[in-house]
Subunit: 159 residues, 2 copies
DNA sequence: TATTGTTATACTCTATAACTATA
DNA sequence: TATAGTTATAGAGTATAACAATA
C-alpha cells in the first residue's frame, strides 16, 4: 500500500466500463454461472469425450435401465427428434444398447452395455469430484443446498 | 391419508422414473433454471422483439455511450465476429448509431438513437418488472441477494 | 386416433480463420 | 506488430413437420 504510485493524470482518465446494468440482473448472472460451470464440466470430462447432455443420458439410463428414449429425452428437456443422434452416438461407441421391449414394440428399451457400466464407474468418480469442486467454490455443503433450493424456486414456479 | 387406495397389484408396478441422478447436480439445475428464466424473458420481451443478448447490448450502450463494439461484445461474452450481426440488426431497426470516433478510426463508437433512448425507457420498466417477478419467485430481496452472491462464487473462481 | 422413433430441415448460438484498415 | 471490425464457415443446440410402425 505504501508504494502505490499516483495514477496517470495527463490523459483524460477513461471511465471504467459500466457492466452493472447487466451484471445485476438475475438472468444474466445465472447464464454466466451456467456457462462457467459447463465449461468446467467439459474440461473435466474431455478425456471421456462426453458433454453434459451425453453424461446425463448415460446417468439416467444407468439409474433407469430399460427406459424409453422419450423418457430420457423428456428428463433432459431434449426433443425426442434431437435425442436420436445423441443416443445413436452412445450406441455406436458401445456404451448403450437398444433392446426390443416385450410390451410395446414401438419403443426401444435402453440399457448400458458392460462397457457402459464400466465407464459409468469412472464417471461417477469424476462427477463426484466435480460436484465437490462446486461445493468448495460455493463455500460448503450448506451453501450448495441454499443454491439448489433457490434455483428450484426459479424452476418450479410456472408463472 | 385415510382414503388412499391400495396400489394396483396385477401388473408389475412400473417404478417412477428416477431423475435424481441429474437433478441433484448443481450444473444441471443451474442450466434448467437459466433456461426457464430466459424463456420467461423472451415471453415478456416478445412485444419488443428483443432477446436477452440484444436487450443487454442496448442496456450496455445506454450506460456506456460511445463504447466500442469489442467492449460491449466482451461484456456480453460474445466474440466480436458474432457481435456484428447483432449490432447490424439494432442499427437497421434504428435503435443504435455507429459513429466515427476522433481518436481511433478503427473502431465504431456506439450510441442509442432518439428512438433507441425512447425504447430504452420502456425496456427499463419491463426489465424492472421482470426482475421483481424473479424476486417474488425467489422469496424476497434477501433471497435474491443470496442467489446473486452464490452465483458470483461460481463465476469468479478461475480454477 | 395417439404415441415412439425417425428423418429432414431451419434457425440460433458459438468458434475459428482470414481479410481490411487502422494504430 | 497488434487491434477493431468484418466476412465466411462450420459446429452445436434446438424447434417443427412429416412419416412408418405400433398401440
Amino acid at each position: 500500500m505504501s508504494e502505490t504510485k499516483a495514477p496517470p493524470k495527463a490523459k483524460a482518465v477513461r471511465q471504467r466500463f459500466r457492466n452493472e446494468v447487466v451484471t445485476e440482473i438475475v438472468g444474466y448472472r445465472l447464464r454466466r454461472a451456467q456457462v462457467q460451470v459447463f465449461q468446467e464440466f467439459n474440461a473435466r470430462f474431455a478425456d471421456y469425450q462426453l458433454r453434459p447432455a451425453e453424461y446425463s443420458a448415460l446417468a439416467l439410463i444407468a439409474a433407469n435401465p430399460g427406459s424409453k428414449q422419450i423418457e430420457v429425452a423428456n428428463a433432459l428437456g431434449i426433443k425426442r427428434a434431437n435425442f436420436v443422434a445423441l443416443i445413436n452416438m452412445l450406441e455406436t461407441r458401445g456404451l448403450i444398447d437398444r433392446r426390443q421391449p416385450a410390451n410395446d414394440r414401438r419403443s426401444h428399451a435402453l440399457f448400458l452395455t458392460a462397457e457402459g457400466e464400466s465407464l459409468m464407474e469412472k464417471l461417477d468418480v469424476a462427477q463426484a469430484e466435480f460436484e465437490a469442486e462446486c461445493v468448495r467454490k460455493l463455500g460448503g455443503p450448506a451453501a450448495r443446498e441454499q443454491l439448489m433450493e433457490l434455483l428450484d424456486r426459479l424452476i418450479d414456479s410456472g408463472g
